[in-house]
């Protein structure tokens, strides 16, 4: 399945590196990535492919949240289809 990982918070060195390493360690491929500043917040989005992931989705989400806490940002992961349903007709 494809999912979207969003990272929102204040900008600092190493956010992308940390999140990318975390995903690589679990064989999760990054298909697409973009980064911008929205309403004063650092916002990064990744489209990831979980088909070869070595981690189960439940624990994976919790670990991502924990990683976010250590980096001082908010990290969320949701199924790609949710965004398709809401924003594409």
């Amino acid at each position: 399945m494809k999912a979207i990982v969003s990272v929102v918070g204040s900008d600092k060195v190493g956010i992308i590196a940390n999140v990318s390493n975390f995903l690589a360690d679990r064989d999760i491929n990054i298909d697409d990535i973009s980064q911008t500043v929205l309403e004063g917040n650092f916002v990064m989005m990744m489209m990831v492919d979980l088909s070869k992931s070595t981690a189960q989705i439940g624990p994976l989400k919790e670990e991502l949240e924990t990683l976010g806490e250590t980096l001082g940002v908010s990290i969320a992961m949701m199924h790609e289809r949710v965004f398709g349903a809401m924003h594409r007709i």
Binding site: M78, H79, V82, A85
Partner: protein
Amino acid sequence: MLYTPFEIKETVDMFLRQKLDIRAITLGISLLDCASASGVESRRRIRDKLLRIAGSLVKIGDEIETEYGIPIINKRVSVTPIAMVAAASDEIDYSPWAETLDGVAKELGIDFIGGFSALVQKGIAPGDRRLIDSIPRALAGTDRVCASVNVASTKSGINMDAVREMGRVIRESAALSADRDGLACAKFVVFCNAPEDNPFMAGAFHGPGEGDSCLNVGVSGPGVIKAAIESCRGASFDVLADTIKKTAFKITRMGQLVGTEAARRLGVPFGILDLSLAPTPEVGDSVARILEEMGLESTGTHGSTAALAMLTDMVKKGGVMASTSVGGLSGAFIPVSEDEGMVAAVRAGSLHLDKLEAMTCVCSVGLDMVAIPGDTKASTISAIIADEMAIGMVNNKTTAVRIIPVPGKKAGEWAEFGGLLGGAPIIGVHDFSSEAFIARGGRIPAPIHSFKN
């Protein structure tokens, strides 16, 4: 990137900050094939069928929640009105059916099971009579069973004999749960034009016109609508209406996705999607606060009915565009105890029962979770119900009454129901009697505009 950063942030914020969720996935199951001359046999069939069809409901709900990142707050089951199923037996007391449903609900791990119900808008059959008489005991003796009675419809008029009975049933239910502020009444709804596919409790039942089983989904999201219209402060109603409609569209699309996926995994047909702004007692999950965001100082003041009318209509329009199977109640709920903003409005003195009744003309249901003084007469409760049924009947809409006469408490005191049901200040009712009016019985005929054949 397939989606823009703005789109992604908007969606993520809806779930993380604005408390968007699937309020309920409700599996409707027909029990018409569980009727038997033996009550014991009937209840055995019911238990077997419910466990067979709904056995994996909670597991599948949890899986989808994890996989999609969408909170699914409640997993529930609705069944055929029990009066229709139990009528084949010669038992007088139907509360054992409620106990069976309660036991199954606990085994399945679901929070509510709805359908201890009767449809009596035109007349009361023997099975309906027994069910109505069993409601107080059934509700006080169980934890997760919800009951409802449809006493009126636009096509049939108002069954005033049934309305009179409802006042008595509500008083007795309150008395039997006096130690919990009359909690049993919070699990009982009196309807006009009850929808047969409503996924929301306490009024959910699986209508006799439905198939063997189907999955209905209730989506909520008052916080999302409020956040969306915060961006149009000072703008005209056209802008406001359009913003609500677009947001409702997005929420409904999400609900459709989850509903069809859950139905597929359960192996049952997808029924309907009910987009209802259903508040919870949590801050940030209130319908009243949406009305106030539109420019009202406190809900209940002049303008509240107009604000709610527009909100309900725009939610429906956005929802209908987004899904071909919108049903149930779809609109905005205005329960008192379940909405932090409504509670604040009652406390502030801006919201009274009469204004609340006016607002039910344009909301998607009716007088909901209203605590009234414990010494309110049964005939007064029946008269409150009659008014609400008349609104539904004449306006061709669903209306409902879920009212709690709180034993031993007076207007202004606090009643606590706990959890999602919340708590509320007790609202005063008129002291003038409706006794002779309710004593008449009979039927208020259907309105002239019901004859559309």
